[in-house]
């Protein structure tokens, strides 16, 4: 009986512990639950996260055209890989001998090192599909195939993508002027893109804005270019390699726009444009992105922490008006030098009361002789960084053009690198930076 008594006391102590442990666990769970309620679905490639209120707010990614998968991680269209293909997320599913790949969740792969069930399957791109992947750092994407009763891992029928264009390099550079300036050769600004909108009523393509080629498939521009316009991508055209808007050149490349992505927090109300940035995904009628040439090259994106000194000399270029009073745009590519202006000087002196914030910066000619002007919007402000040209700003707004103490205001691109990365294929993104 004594023994029983001792055990019962021990048990009761144990139980009391249990009850208190349970109480603390509860608090913990409550915290994590709240976290879940607010969780993002982490949709990639510009997918939208939607939640179903009637079903405990269960969430799901709604993928844009060309992407699929639970997080829109699968690129339905890509046909090649970069590097060793670690980041390949396409849909090729046959090996070099044209044998069909096994599903990564196949029961046959349960004992193999790579399958749908391993811990970081999602990050490695493995799932309920049989697409080629390279989860273990081999030389190119591969998959398992079945021959008779045996399973083999074999390389896939995929080739490497054409070498990445070397961003921010040009054949020669000349400094020209936009307002009151001279014609610039397109070779000096091979990353500049022209965006046209088809006007149904008058049946012609109207020049809308400039832009910058940041990837063979993507053009960065200003969100305000689309202010009050329909965002139907089919009405827009992007042309690369244009020296003059009015003449068609043999070397120019023409693209349809697949997607128009405005910054979600773009503010179009006065007194300024906040988050004035947009991305266009381009593709030619034959399904290709931009091909590198002397008149079409990508511009590097700046490193995230890059802050250039005040008075640093950069270039801005565009096809806009030569004077703010002109009615017609210059229609030919012009380029000019501008100096970066101290943020506090611009915020407090030049544009006080206009809500100038860290998403913007000012640049102008020290003698107020040249400037970007209407029609240059969306175009690039590029600066030399470590021997490469980087896209430091996007032409956004300003009072008049080349007016004294009224410099041009530009979108600060370094603020938007995560935003750009989230909407583009993060994979290619690494190769956009200039070498350190």
């Amino acid at each position: 009986m004594k023994l029983l008594f001792v055990t019962s006391v021990m048990l009761s102590a144990l139980l009391t512990d249990f009850a208190s442990a349970r109480h603390s666990e509860k608090l913990h769970r409550q915290a994590s639950k709240t976290k879940y309620e607010r969780q993002d679905c982490n949709c990639l490639h510009g997918g939208t996260c939607i939640s179903y209120h009637l079903f405990s707010r269960v969430k799901r990614c709604l993928c844009p055209q060309g992407y699929s998968g639970d997080r829109c991680e699968i690129d339905v269209e890509i046909q090649c890989y970069t590097g060793n293909g670690e980041d390949y997320r396409g849909t090729k599913s046959v090996n070099e001998q044209n044998e069909k790949c096994l599903m990564w969740d196949s029961a046959l792969l349960k004992r193999w090192p790579y399958n749908d069930g391993i811990e970081n399957a999602m990050e490695l791109g493995l799932g309920k599909h049989n697409y080629c992947r390279n989860p273990d750092g081999r030389t190119k994407p591969w998959c398992y195939v079945r021959r008779g009763y045996r399973t083999f891992s074999t390389f896939c029928d995929l080739s490497e993508c054409q070498k990445q264009a070397t961003c921010g390099q040009r054949r020669f550079s000349k400094y020209f002027k936009i307002v009151g300036g001279n014609k610039a050769e397109i070779e000096s600004q091979p990353w500049i893109a022209t965006i046209f909108q088809y006007m149904k009523r008058s049946a012609y393509n109207m020049f809308l804005c400039g832009g910058s080629l940041i990837d063979p498939c993507w053009v960065a521009t200003a969100a305000h270019c689309f202010k009050g316009r329909s965002l139907d991508p089919t009405q827009f055209t992007v042309i690369l390699g244009k020296t003059s808007l009015t003449t068609d050149e043999e070397s120019e490349q023409k693209f349809k726009v697949e997607r128009v992505i405005l910054h979600e927090e773009f503010l179009e109300e006065a007194p300024n444009f906040d988050n004035d940035i947009a991305l266009l995904k381009i593709r030619s009628s034959s399904g290709q992105c931009a091909e590198e040439s002397n008149v079409a090259k990508t511009i590097c994106l700046p490193p995230e922490n890059l802050v250039l000194n005040d008075n640093f000399r950069c270039e801005v270029s565009g096809y806009g008006k030569a004077n703010s009073s002109d009615i017609l745009y210059a229609r030919i590519l012009k380029s000019t030098n501008v100096n970066l202006i101290s943020q506090s000087l611009c915020r407090e002196e030049y544009y006080s009361g206009r809500g100038l914030n860290g998403n913007m910066f000012c640049a102008g000619d020290p003698r107020w002789k040249t400037d970007a002007c209407q029609g240059d919007s969306g175009g690039p402000l590029v600066c030399d960084y470590n021997g490469r040209m980087v896209l430091y700003g996007i032409v956004s707004w300003g009072d008049g053009c080349a007016k004294e103490r009224k410099p041009g205001v530009y979108t600060r691109v370094t603020r938007y690198l995560p935003w750009i990365a989230s909407h583009m294929n993060g994979v290619h993104f690494k190769s956009f930076y200039p070498p350190q």
Binding site: A19, Y52, F55
Partner: protein
């Protein structure tokens, strides 16, 4: 002696089970789970939410299981989202680990062939941009008993990371869905319509862009507890729209915090005794009252006016069971000592 030992052991086990309360399977991901969780005091149901998407390349299923509050109902819908068919289903049950089974979408697909008179419904999703009159797609419902449904739900507060699936048309089996079910207050709008004839859910109205006409009734509107959300200063008035011609007030347990919570607004009479206040507002064991007079939903003004059914749930806190546990143990020890003496 042995007999004593075992009865005591069983008694102890019983006490342990009581202290642990309801357990439910719990998971959140692409595979069904066998993990379980112990529910909080205010949670007395297990829930299974399953979302299955069907594409040309295959099926993907997402499981969300766990504890929940009482007062909700089983619902399911299916609709066309771009090139996918999305099935959503939610089930509730109340015994230990009862949410093991999941609504199986494959059964549903197999059932399709066997059905005598399949229902055709219009299907679209506002987030997908397909809810326009000119481009409404049609789908065939797969379960017997399914109706054509039209669900609008939106809140004025933007969520941080996701947007509501504001408007969905498709097939569904929704609880209490005969008359249109509607509720709105200053922060949210819900309207659920079901119909039983093929292609009867055609109407494509955007209740956010063009609100329904006012019906002349004004009700009090608030959501939250008595210190935040439904404090006297928080209560506003809202002009009722369309068929939402009653004033509603409901009190219950907030599903997340376990605190008493209140909801006020305009509702259709069909909504009043439906489970949708519990579902949309995550309000456990709700006590709901509807009335028809101007600003008549004014009974609940502070903790003391809450209905007992709600309070008894709120009072059921951890200390109660601990006290019970320790007192039972004391009794048991006393009993043991007595039996030894004798």
């Amino acid at each position: 002696m042995d007999f004593f030992f075992w009865t005591h052991f069983v008694f102890l086990l019983f006490l342990a089970a009581h202290a642990l309360g309801l357990q439910c399977y719990s998971c959140d991901g692409n595979s069904n789970c066998l993990d379980s969780q112990v529910c909080q005091e205010h949670q007395d149901r297990c829930r299974t939410t399953v979302m299955t998407t069907l594409t040309q390349s295959g099926i993907s299923t997402y499981f969300l299981k766990g504890c929940d509050v009482s007062g909700k109902a089983n619902n399911s819908i299916s609709y066309l989202s771009k090139n996918q068919v999305v099935f959503l289903a939610e089930e509730h049950c109340e015994s230990q680990l009862c949410n093991e089974e999941t609504p199986n979408v494959l059964d549903v697909l197999l059932a399709r062939g066997r059905q005598h008179r399949p229902m055709q419904c219009y299907s679209c999703g506002q987030a997908e941009g397909t809810c326009f009159n000119s481009s409404l797609a049609q789908m065939r419902c797969s379960r017997p008993g399914e109706q054509c449904v039209d669900i609008t739900s939106f809140t004025m507060l933007e969520e941080e990371f996701s947007q509501d699936a504001q408007h969905i048309k498709g097939c569904g089996q929704l609880a209490h869905c005969q008359e249109p079910l509607g509720f709105h207050n200053q922060g949210s709008f819900y309207l659920i319509k079901c119909c039983n004839a093929s292609l009867c859910n055609k109407e494509t109205e955007d209740y956010k862009a063009t609100p329904l006409p006012l019906n002349g009734l004004t009700c009090y509107s608030c959501e939250g507890n008595f210190s935040h959300g439904c404090a006297p200063n928080d209560i506003t008035q809202v002009q009722c729209q369309g068929s939402m011609n009653q004033c509603l007030e409901a009190s219950g347990i907030d599903g997340i915090s376990g605190q008493s919570s209140v909801v006020k607004g305009c509702a259709s009479s069909s909504w009043c005794d439906s489970p949708y206040t519990a579902i949309y507002k995550n309000l456990g064991a709700p006590y709901t009252r509807c009335c028809t007079g101007e600003l008549c939903n004014n009974w609940i003004v502070n903790e003391s006016t809450l209905k007992p059914s709600a309070r008894s749930q709120a009072d059921h806190n951890p200390t109660t069971s601990s006290v019970l546990l320790s007192s039972s143990l004391l009794l048991w020890v006393a009993f043991l000592l007595c039996s030894e003496n004798s």
